[in-house]
Symmetry: C2
């Protein structure tokens, strides 16, 4: 499997899933500003026309895009204990993956991190964040994980996304369960290992684009 990733981007969720399973993949770094591959400067849009990471080239040569699909595929390949088998829990997994992807990642953070977005896009994203973080806080108040009693691909994705908050004006003080969840998550070995690899690459990326 070839995973096209950018440091600390949502593709880090797949690295966490691989770490959980002790599995590996070939990681190919994409510069998110130039949309080129670091290794040879070629155009990443030839892999994913939207220019977004992750993309995954499977062992059958098929290119998958969309984080949720990549997470499902990789978790199934490396041992599927990160995807619940109980149908009711699987439905809850779909719900939380979709919430993270649509409500947090796209609606909230994509606007905040879009360097070409007008200020109004950023402030509208922030306005929308409170009800979403409140929803999450209520859900996490009496739970260690998003779905059921175990870590799933939804936790890998949520921790990755919440980790971005430190680069935003959002203060988690009103949502203590979210903050505690993120703090626990960052201490998890699979997450700690992923950040240890990607944070230095992220700093290099920032230095290149500066």
């Amino acid at each position: 499997m070839d995973l096209y990733f950018s440091p600390l981007a949502c593709s880090m969720a797949t690295r966490i899933v691989l770490n959980e399973a002790g599995a590996d993949a070939t990681f190919i770094e994409v510069d998110p500003h130039t949309k080129t591959l670091l290794e040879d400067g070629s155009d990443y849009r030839r892999i994913n026309p939207l220019g977004l990471v992750p993309a995954l080239r499977t062992d059958h040569g098929e290119v998958l895009t969309e984080n949720i699909a990549v997470l499902h595929h990789v978790a199934s390949r490396v041992g599927n204990d990160l995807i619940p088998s109980d149908p009711a829990e699987l439905t809850r997994l779909h719900q939380w993956l979709s919430f993270i992807s649509s409500e947090l990642h796209t609606r909230l953070f994509s606007g905040l991190f879009d360097p070409n977005a007008p200020e109004a896009v950023r402030s509208r994203g922030l306005e929308k964040s409170a009800v979403r973080l409140a929803r999450l806080d209520e859900h996490l108040a009496d739970r260690d994980y998003l779905v059921g009693d175990d870590f799933t691909i939804a936790d890998a994705y949520l921790i990755t996304v919440l980790n971005w908050i430190q680069a935003t004006p959002i203060d988690l003080t009103p949502w203590p369960a979210v903050r505690a969840y993120l703090e626990r998550g960052r201490e998890r070995p699979s997450v700690k290992g992923a950040i240890a690899v990607e944070l230095p690459l992220y700093r290099e990326e920032r230095a290149r684009s500066a």
Copy 2:
């Protein structure tokens, strides 16, 4: 099953899925402007704190939110031939559901249809639409359905979302495969039946909010 819906909103995808199976549910209409239930004026945010449709109360009394989760649950309940069983096709289903939800619905249309969004949010959404519609057009050029050879829950969702284009400045002329797909979709009995029920309700909703 109780389905909380608003006319022609993304909840219509679930009505299409029910129509495909000849199945039924209790439909409870939500006014999208006041976020109240039409039947008694009560606050819909007590069902879904985000105020978004659909929400589904399952026969076990659990409330599900997020369209993708509702579609999975309903399709599984009424006969799952709208969800492929082949693992590779299931991964492609995840990919396209996520693309529709994040890239089309949330990133493009949510901004266009948000009455409180600044103009910059709308124009940024339109700027982002071309590459996404081009991606879809390329994929649909030689296919009748999004995934495999049969209609799936992803088609129910995509037709519902593309049907909104008539209320936007987007012209589908540069994307003939998308336009043809939408025209075919609108003629499908399950879709035609859903629109026949929801269009009059939509007009009533517009008249109320005017």
